[in-house]
Amino acid sequence: MLCSGRAKIPQTGVKFREEDMAKLKISDLAKIKEQVTQATSLREGGAQVKVTVHMGTCGIASGARNVLNAVMEELTKSGRKDIIVTTSGCMGLCSAEPLVTVEKAGAEPIKYSHMDDAKMRQVFNRHVLADEVQTQWVLAKGSEQ
């Protein structure tokens, strides 16, 4: 029995919509694009922060699941509703995993490398909640494209 022991990744971020399962028409693609862009863009009135935990096999192997659990716990504690936590795949620099991206409205995304449970909690409380970039763990700012 392969993969039966795999823990389920906690539900995060904007999820695949369970309702509205009608088969798509071509015009629906543009509609979904618009909806998702609105829901995930960081703008006034919507979400203010997006935290992405990179969870490829490399990330998971180096502890990304603990990092994700930590950020989910801190998010619950904070009671904030305008913070999206989501997962994504490997961004290529496997030797620096676990990697986490913090995007705040109006600011460039910040990538943190070599994260763990404790570092993630500090990043959440100081950077996500209080705007102090934890530069000692920053890999880079910006995005690849």
Binding site: I26, L29, G89, C90, G92, K111, T135
Partner: protein, 596 residues
């Protein structure tokens, strides 16, 4: 509209205003007027850019320079230095508080700057388990275009124009493969994806399936329309549980949206996709063995022709491409074959993904335009060799089917033909960097051991020949090599290459041949002098300290796990051979190459 040579965007958000940005703006304007620059430089007030803690902040274009905490007293210097003389004022750059170093821009980091993402364009950006995010990144637009605006011939023509070649390693032109299959008669045809990635150290396909599974689903569906197929399989090894999980989710979600199944996007075209999990036999990455495995039989190759385009899965015309090839297809359809063909070299178009591993600082997954040199990949993207006292020796490309490229050919570009010329192959993208602590004979033995283990046993040259080659290599690294061994290896290699049934055997001797080509002296040292020049083969090491070279640093003494080393300050170390377990920890720690 007036053209300015420089734009100064001063933040006028509440935070920066409170910190005095209006006064700075006015002072800048006044100083510009005074210096007679009003016709050349524009000062613009912007909204909050989010960095309130460091306000007042300003961004200068076209340079893109970011100034923080500007005060009115800084203005004369900014104007005379930056605006007049073009020298940005470094003391006002953003500095990291702890170490005072500036946070680099992601695209200023060589690891990212030299890459160009096509197959990996969504990596790290979208949630692979959510189809909506893929659609938001223009996913399934290419499929919509292919289904409603293009004929099968047009799709194939576009792929042919792109110059895309099979990324599994052989480099067969993808468009041509599709055309053969499209022209093969038959009602039932299949589209297959080879996700049976097996080269040691390679993880390109796994990473694509984990990060962006929909790109593969979309690529396969486009091909289905082109060749007239209604069913497809992804053959993925079961030891990639996360890739299988995410791909299955992607297929389920695409089906629910009607992007797979009957009447896709209301176009009248139907196609469905299944995952077939392989048990991890390397030979099942060979196309005919892969198809037999899906049929439920033992995964063994058969002679070609007939080629799969004529008689593939269940003897029906079949197109089989590798994961990375599929991930390129949606981009080619969406942006056009000419766009894709504008990237790369004469014979190799687009980009190639490599799994960079071994003795290199930035281990990871990289995608570079074809034509990028191996040196750029290893030194600029990879960050070079980690251990300072070690030197680059060779890079292994193409896994057990490939070969190694030594230092003198590091400027070889990534190009199918150029790499073959230096004795290796492009391969599926495994790139193992080796420093001078690697024994090339032992490396060849490792790959031969792998090939021998994975040989399916159907044809004699591969089954028996690789076993004999392995025995000889094992003898050599054990210090029992004989005169004539090298010649026997070469003779066997030539025989196996020419008479094996499938690619596994035909390419299996390559690692031995390419190491013999560049490192024949190492083989000879093992056989004649019973020495391993890289000091790697345990049987050929004496475990004696060279007192002339020893600097008495004590590192070997501190790291020896069985306390077999005697050492005092200022005296050379000595190894007690009765206690030594030959673990080579002392070799790895010695910075002066003082242990023999």
């Amino acid at each position: 509209m007036k053209l300015f040579r420089q734009h100064w965007l001063i933040c006028g958000g509440t935070g920066c205003q409170a910190a005095g940005s209006i006064a700075v703006r006015d002072a800048l304007k006044a100083e510009i007027q005074k210096q007679g620059l009003a016709e050349e430089i524009a000062v613009v007030e912007t909204g909050c850019n989010g960095f309130c803690a460091m306000g007042p902040v300003a961004v200068v274009y076209p340079e893109g320079i970011f100034y923080v905490a500007i005060e009115v007293s800084d203005v004369p210097e900014l104007v005379s230095e930056h605006m007049l003389k073009g020298r940005p004022v470094a003391r006002l750059f953003y500095k990291e508080p702890a170490t005072k170093s500036v946070i680099p821009d992601m695209m200023d980091i060589p690891f990212f700057a030299h890459q160009k993402l096509i197959a990996l364009r969504n990596r790290g950006i979208l949630d692979a388990e959510n189809i909506d995010e893929y659609i938001a990144r223009d996913g399934y637009q290419a499929l919509a275009k292919a289904l409603t605006e293009m004929t099968p011939e047009q799709i194939i023509a576009e792929v042919k124009t792109s110059g895309l070649r099979g990324r599994g390693g052989a480099g067969f032109p993808t468009g041509l493969k599709w055309e053969f299959c499209q022209k093969s008669p038959g009602e039932i045809k299949y589209v297959l994806c080879n996700a049976d990635e097996g080269d040691p150290g390679a993880f390109m396909d796994r990473s694509i399936l984990e990060a962006d599974p929909h790109s593969v689903v979309e690529g396969m569906t486009i091909a289905a329309k082109a060749i007239g197929s209604h069913e497809g399989y992804v053959y993925c090894r079961a030891e990639y549980p996360l890739a299988v999980h995410r791909l299955q989710l992607a297929i389920d979600q695409a089906r629910e949206y009607g992007l797979l199944g009957e009447n896709i996007l209301d176009s009248g075209f139907s196609f469905d996709l299944h995952i077939y999990q392989g048990a991890g036999a390397f030979v099942c990455g060979e196309e005919t063995a892969l198809m037999r495995s899906i049929e439920g039989k033992r995964g063994m190759p058969r002679p070609r022709p007939p080629f799969p385009a004529v008689a593939g899965l269940w003897n029906r015309p079949t197109v089989l491409n590798n994961v990375e090839t599929w991930a390129n297809i949606p981009q080619i359809i969406q942006k056009g074959g000419a766009w894709y063909a504008s990237i790369g070299t004469e014979g190799s178009k687009g980009t190639k993904v490599f799994a960079l591993t071994g003795h290199v600082n930035n281990i990871g997954l990289v995608e570079v335009p074809m034509g990028t040199t191996l040196r750029t990949i290893i030194y600029d993207i990879g960050g070079g060799i980690p251990k300072k006292h070690r030197k680059f020796k060779a890079v292994q490309l193409g896994g057990p089917s490939g070969g190694c490229v030594p230092e003198q050919y590091l400027d070889t570009p990534c190009d199918y033909e150029a790499i073959v010329k230096v004795g290796a192959i492009m391969g599926s993208g495994g790139m193992i960097v080796m420093d001078d602590s690697t024994c090339m004979v032992d490396m060849a033995r490792f790959f031969m051991d792998f090939v021998q283990e994975e040989s399916c046993g159907k044809c004699t040259p591969c089954r028996e020949g690789t076993r004999r080659m392995l025995q000889i290599l094992e003898r050599i690294v054990e210090g029992e090599g004989r005169e004539g061994d090298i010649e026997t290896l070469e003779e066997l290699a030539a025989m196996i290459q020419t008479s094996s049934l499938c690619g596994l055997g035909q390419t299996g001797p390559n690692p031995v041949l390419s190491t013999l080509r560049y490192f024949r002296d190492e083989y000879e040292a093992h056989i004649r002098d019973k020495k391993c020049p890289a000091k790697s083969c345990v049987a050929l090491l004496d475990f004696v300290v060279d007192e002339a070279k020893c600097k008495s640093c004590g590192l070997c003494f501190k790291n020896c796990p069985v306390s077999a080393i005697e050492w005092e300050k200022k005296k050379p170390a000595k190894i007690d051979l009765s206690k030594c377990i030959k673990c080579k920890t002392c070799f790895e720690n010695c910075k002066f190459d003082a242990i023999n």
